[in-house]
Each structure stands twice: as structure tokens, then as C-alpha cells.
Symmetry: C2
Subunit: 212 residues, 2 copies
């Protein structure tokens, strides 16, 4: 095993450190967060920090760096109270990555990268067309992480949209059936295949597969 | 697209809601967090919420539900100040899942599920033997998420250990080369394969693959 300690990390070049530290925590979710400005400009940006927080009530969180290109996303969420989360799937990988470029405030990344807006009846916020799982989220709170000045945004999941063929009888969404991607580091887009699904674990009882 | 809104979610059976909401945010990291009690009992439990927070200084966060079996992990981290993060890989998927069972405080999950402890010179905390990426983490802070009484634990990454063959020349760790897993929902263990890696995105410049 190779060891890189904090002194080594501090002395490392910026790009190498970014690549190493971004890949050392494991695979990440790949989501496009879409918002709308008060002027009606639709914004979309890729995020790899969307994390489940709880099921009842349904909540998620994600991390923002307000000093970067993500500031449009933050401003729109604060101004309107809502955003959508759209899973990245294999057909749109390169377009999803391109949303990380630093476009101007008045530019819609949808147009700039060639992603299509999907509108839904009764919802005044943009979704990403074709995305197999889409969430309508409502801003609840934010926690500033004082240790590095990032913001942990907390949101309620007000509605879940998904392609029906990926739903299991027990509610589980089989993301592999929709070619949903995961991210390795900053820029590695990966396609997972299911290896196994296990039953609820209990002490002194063998781990049981649900698939075999 | 099927739509499940918040009223439908609230009325749903508990298991179905757990499965749906846990899978609707996308793929998650699969990590074993190992700790040691002040009595010397090694504890290990699976987490799917470990998220990169920043690279300089290197930091991560994860979500704890103190009212569940994860309370040993929390107590040990608060008592000792340290924990280790160990990537789940294909050979240990079922053992990793089994750590989610509710074992007693004086039971080491390492023994109960058949995972081996790896000790490292100069570090007084247990790692999971065979895990291809291992992090030594130091507790920095915690933020209580008032909306659902979970805790967001913030930690510094003091050292990164990894199998040398997965390191790229630019610092990126190719997790696929070590069969690192990702989790779909509560219990679906998936093996990702790299689809593409893209260069840093800039406006008005075509998205470029680093692999092709």
C-alpha cells in the first residue's frame, strides 16, 4: 500500500491533490441540479455530493462551494426555494460534465451544453429531459461548514419521478436498468452493474442474497 | 414516468418508502468505518453517506443516526477523536452488509462478520484488511441537522493508503481496478466500470475525453 499523509498532501501540486482527494472517498452520485432564476433563466450544473439524509420525511443534502460557478445554483435556490435533481445516465455523460464549465449568469447551461428542458404540469421548475430519476426538492435549511466555508444544503423531497420499468415490488429503484452513472473523482464517469442485493442483516444469521 | 409525491410517500409502507427514498438520490459510496472503543474493542460498520468536502485541507463528511446501531461508531469517534474509512470491494460485499446488524456494544463486528483487522505501524486504530483504499480520519466537528435529528460528522483526512496499481499519473485513483463497490439504495451492491473520463470543462470548448 502506498501512503500519502497530510504533509505530503499539503506539498502536492493542486491538480494531483484534487484528483487524489476527490477519488479517495469512493464512488459518488452523479446528478444534475436544475434551477430557475427570478428572471426565468434555467440553470443546470453537475453535482456529485447529493446524499440521502432520511426517508420519513424524505430529505437529501448536498455540498455547495458558493465561491465557484455553483453560485447561480445557490442564488436561484435561495430566491425561489426549489430545485430539481436529475440522475446522469450514460447517453448524457459528456453534456453533464460540460455543465461544470464557468458560464455567465445570463447563459442557460441547458442551451450551452445541449441538454433539453423538461417541463411538468403544475411545476414551475425545469427538469432534465430523459433523466430516468428526477426529484422535485424544496429548500429547508443550510449549514455552513466553518472548517472549509462550504455550505450543506438541506432539502425536502416533494416528489419523485422515475421510469416505471426500474421499480421493484418492494419500492427499490434498480438504477442499473436505466444506465444511471456514478462518478469516480472529479471526472471519471462509471456505469455500475448489480452484483448482489442482500436481505436486512440480523446478528447470528447468515447474510442472505435476495437475488440468488 | 411514475410520480410519487410527498403525500403518497407519507402514506406508503415503511419498507417500501425506505427502499424508494434510499435509491432515489443515486449511487452512494460503500465504506466501512472502523473505530476503537476506550476499552479496546474494535468496531466496524457500513456507511453509504461518506462524501468529499474539500481537497485543501482534505476533508470528508458523513451522516450518523445516533439512535441506531451506529451509536458505537459515534461514541468511539467522540471518545478517541479518530476513525478509519475503508472501501468495500467485491470480495467482502456480504460481510460488509452484515456489519449493519445490531450487535452488542462489547461485540466486535470484525469477529462477528469475519472481517480481519489490519494494524498499521504508528496508528492506534483498526483498518479493514484487504480494503484497497483506506483513510485515517480525525474528527473536526459535528453539525446536528435539526430537520431530522441526524448528525453530519466533519473530519480531516490525515492519511490516504491505497494499492499502488490503481494510481494514475495525475493522482486520480481508478477505483474500478480494485473492484470497489457502490451502493444502490440500502442493500444493492454494484460494481462500476469506467465509461469515460473527461478533461476540465471550459465554456465554448468541446468536452474532451481523456481516454479516447
Amino acid at each position: 500500500m502506498k501512503k500519502i499523509d497530510k504533509n505530503h498532501l499539503a506539498a502536492m501540486g493542486k491538480i494531483e491533490r484534487l484528483n487524489l482527494v476527490n477519488s479517495c472517498t469512493g464512488y459518488k452520485s452523479a446528478n444534475l441540479i436544475a434551477t430557475k432564476s427570478t428572471d426565468g433563466v434555467a440553470n443546470v450544473a453537475i453535482f456529485s455530493s447529493v446524499t440521502h439524509l432520511g426517508s420519513n420525511p424524505a430529505m437529501l443534502g448536498f455540498i455547495l462551494r458558493p465561491a465557484t460557478v455553483q453560485r447561480d445554483t445557490y442564488k436561484n435556490i435561495k430566491d425561489t426555494g426549489f430545485f430539481t435533481v436529475n440522475h446522469v445516465f450514460s447517453d448524457i455523460a459528456s453534456k453533464a460534465h460540460q455543465t461544470s464549465a464557468s458560464y455567465g449568469v445570463d447563459v442557460s447551461e441547458f442551451d450551452a451544453v445541449g441538454l433539453e428542458i423538461e417541463t411538468k404540469v403544475g411545476i414551475d421548475f425545469p427538469f432534465v429531459k430523459g433523466s430516468p430519476v428526477q426529484l422535485l426538492c424544496r429548500f429547508l435549511n443550510e449549514y455552513e461548514i466553518a472548517e472549509n466555508n462550504t455550505i450543506h444544503v438541506i432539502a425536502a423531497i416533494d416528489a419523485i419521478f422515475f421510469e416505471e420499468h426500474i421499480e421493484s415490488t418492494d419500492g427499490w429503484l434498480d438504477l442499473g436498468k436505466a444506465n444511471v452513472l456514478t462518478v469516480n473523482g472529479l471526472d471519471g464517469y462509471c456505469l455500475p452493474k448489480i452484483l448482489d442485493r442482500f436481505e436486512y442483516a440480523r446478528p447470528n444469521q447468515e447474510t442472505k442474497s435476495m437475488l440468488k
